[in-house]
């Protein structure tokens, strides 16, 4: 909720100045007509006090209720009601206080229409100011929210791009190439090409695209080959698939973070050589992919260990298929297993 019109200091000052000037002018005019100062002050003071009250009612009303439909009808209704009410209320209060003086009673009836016009004018102005003020405020609020949403979306996009590029993987691979250039130039060249193919494949892929398992595994193989150059004999991979699974489809870039996670988990949680297996099987309804990696039950905390990229994969699967438990993890005998099921579209 933005600050109300009535809370702004500027408005308070202007409102007070206007009120004093109008009251003063009215009192002076009345004395010119030959009324006593008492009557003049009573009349202008009370009627303008009540009018000020009506104005505040209007400002408060629009703070909490700014109708979109039939807005002008609502405004006219409000100011007419308030003006008429104001007129009768002020007569009801002033008359007894003025002692029902004959001259004054006559004067009040003559000025009745004039007073009504004045009341309508003032309350009308107040209503317009309020409507304008709160409409602008609403607009500003909407703009701010829109901007915030855009910033969030942009940050998310940047984060995604950063993740896609995997600076750690990229720089370490470049470092390996740097080493190979002198000792084994041919291997350096192979790795440059593998890295380029891998990056090109990553950039080309859109998250909402579906690809065949065969092409996803092909892309993954580039990644595995690069990691094998980096880690030498420590990393072994076994990929098991068949012609039936090759034809199945899955969302792009879904398998990659799981395999990355397995490699990271395996390589950084054990000292010995690490075997990563990727097994695909399918029936008519579902493609199931199982990824395993070794881990050390004694030192790692399985619950914390499921972190890394898996939570985002889980989230994506849920958003795509509106089903829970499509990603499952388990661990026994120092082997960590991640299983994903991808429903096949008929």
């Amino acid at each position: 909720m933005h600050p109300g019109l009535l809370q702004t200091v500027k408005f308070k000052i202007i409102f007070a100045i206007c009120w004093f000037s109008i009251t003063e002018v009215q009192a002076i005019v009345l004395t010119r007509f030959g009324f006593s100062w008492r009557i003049a002050l009573l009349d202008s003071g009370i009627s303008n006090l009540l009018l000020a009250g009506a104005c505040l009612v209007i400002a408060k009303t629009f703070q909490y209720y700014n109708p979109q439909k039939n807005k002008y009808l609502f405004i006219i209704g409000l100011i007419v009601t308030l003006s008429v009410g104001w007129l009768f209320l002020s007569r009801g209060i002033i008359m007894p206080l003025a002692g029902n003086e004959a001259d004054y009673v006559r004067y009040f009836s003559i000025s009745f229409v004039l007073r009504l016009c004045f009341g309508l004018l003032i309350t009308g102005c107040m209503a317009l100011i309020s409507v304008l003020w709160y409409t602008i405020k609403d607009q500003q609020e909407t703009d701010r929210r829109k901007q915030e949403a855009e910033t969030l979306a942009r940050d998310a996009e940047l984060y995604r791009l950063r993740q896609q590029l995997q600076p750690h993987f990229l720089f370490n691979s470049l470092n390996s190439i740097n080493a190979l250039i002198v000792s084994k130039p041919t291997e350096a060249r192979t790795m440059v090409l593998q890295l380029s193919d891998f990056l090109r494949g990553t950039l080309k892929k859109d998250d909402d695209q579906w690809v065949s398992l065969a092409s996803e595994l092909q892309h993954l193989q580039l990644y595995l080959d690069i990691e094998k150059v980096r880690f030498g004999h420590r990393l072994l991979t076994i990929v098991e698939n068949n012609t039936a699974t090759d034809m199945t489809m899955l969302p792009a870039m879904l398998l990659q973070p799981i395999v990355e996670n397995a490699i990271k988990f395996g390589l950084y949680d054990t000292l010995e050589s690490v075997t990563i297996t990727i097994t695909a099987s399918s029936n008519k309804a579902e493609l199931t992919i199982t990824v395993t990696n070794p881990y050390d039950a004694e030192t790692s905390q399985p619950l914390a260990g499921t972190g890394f990229g898996l939570s985002s994969v889980k989230r994506r699967l849920f958003l795509l298929f509106a089903r829970h438990h499509l990603l499952q993890t388990s661990f026994n005998n120092n082997i960590f297993t991640t299983t994903i099921s991808i429903p096949q579209l008929p």
């Binding site: 720089f171 470092n175 740097n178 002198v182 980096r230 880690f231």
Partner: protein, 247 residues
């Protein structure tokens, strides 16, 4: 002769350091190591003057390995970490090479090291860097200690409490107490705040291990752990504990 050890889990990353260091006849690489465990052994055996040390390595990272050393050699870190993660290095003037690095950049780091070595001026203080190193992710879930020549990795979920012991902190878990050359402030700042509370000047306790709290003397309490250990809780500590436990 200056003795150096290279510690990096990627063979090719070691080979490039080896290639560049060959231009310095006064430096002999006495051993190459695959991980921090080999590193600790090699440093114990060879007493090297200089380390080329990777940060992300299996089981224990470069910082955790350094924490296990009694005498700190000069260190040049080699890492592919993003630059923003390395502010702490600049703060403590510790040299690091961002992978992939050029021969020129390598030479610059060596010049700096050799200059200090020749003038016998102090090498940058790696200890201060280690105090700040928790800014680098992936360390708040374990504590690496060395007892009787054996390195142990204690997951923080297994830690019962930590107790100040002169220049050390005693880390107590089901297997006993292990001394670690760190400050209480370090652990207070770096362990998960929802689980570990500094209840006393000399104690940080794992709230999951507390079974009950008993009043004790004036204004203070005792926290009784599942293991039966009794931990003093100061007045300020009691307030913090109540906040974390939501009582």
């Amino acid at each position: 002769m200056i003795k150096a050890v290279i510690i990096d889990d990627e063979p090719l990353a070691r080979s490039i350091v080896l290639e560049f260091v060959a231009n310095y006849p006064q430096i002999t690489v006495v051993q190459e190591c695959n991980d921090g465990f080999e590193g600790v052994k090699a440093i114990y055996n060879h007493r090297p003057d200089l380390l080329f040390l990777d940060i992300q390595m299996p089981k224990i990272n470069g910082f955790e390995m350094l924490e296990l050393l009694e005498k700190m050699p000069a260190v040049i870190f080699t890492t592919a970490f993003d630059e923003y993660a390395l502010k702490a290095f600049d703060t403590h003037a510790v040299d690091y090479l961002l992978k992939p690095f050029s021969k020129e950049r390598f030479d610059k780091a060596m010049q700096k090291y050799l200059l200090r070595e020749n003038k016998k001026t102090a090498q940058p203080n790696v200890h201060q860097l280690l105090e700040a190193s928790a800014e680098i992710p992936g360390q708040s879930d374990r504590i690496v200690v060395k007892t009787a020549g054996k390195i142990r990795i204690i997951p923080t979920t297994n830690v019962h409490y930590l107790e100040a012991a002169d220049d050390y902190v005693k880390v107590v878990n089901p297997d006993g107490g292990f001394l670690k050359k760190k400050t209480m402030a370090f652990y207070e700042n770096n362990l998960p705040a929802k689980q570990f509370v500094r209840v006393h000047r000399s104690y940080i306790v794992n709230v999951h291990e507390i079974t009950r709290l008993e009043p004790y003397e004036k204004d203070s309490h005792l926290a009784i752990l599942k293991s039966g250990a009794k931990i003093p809780v100061s007045q300020a500590g009691y307030i913090k504990l109540k906040q974390v436990l939501g009582i």
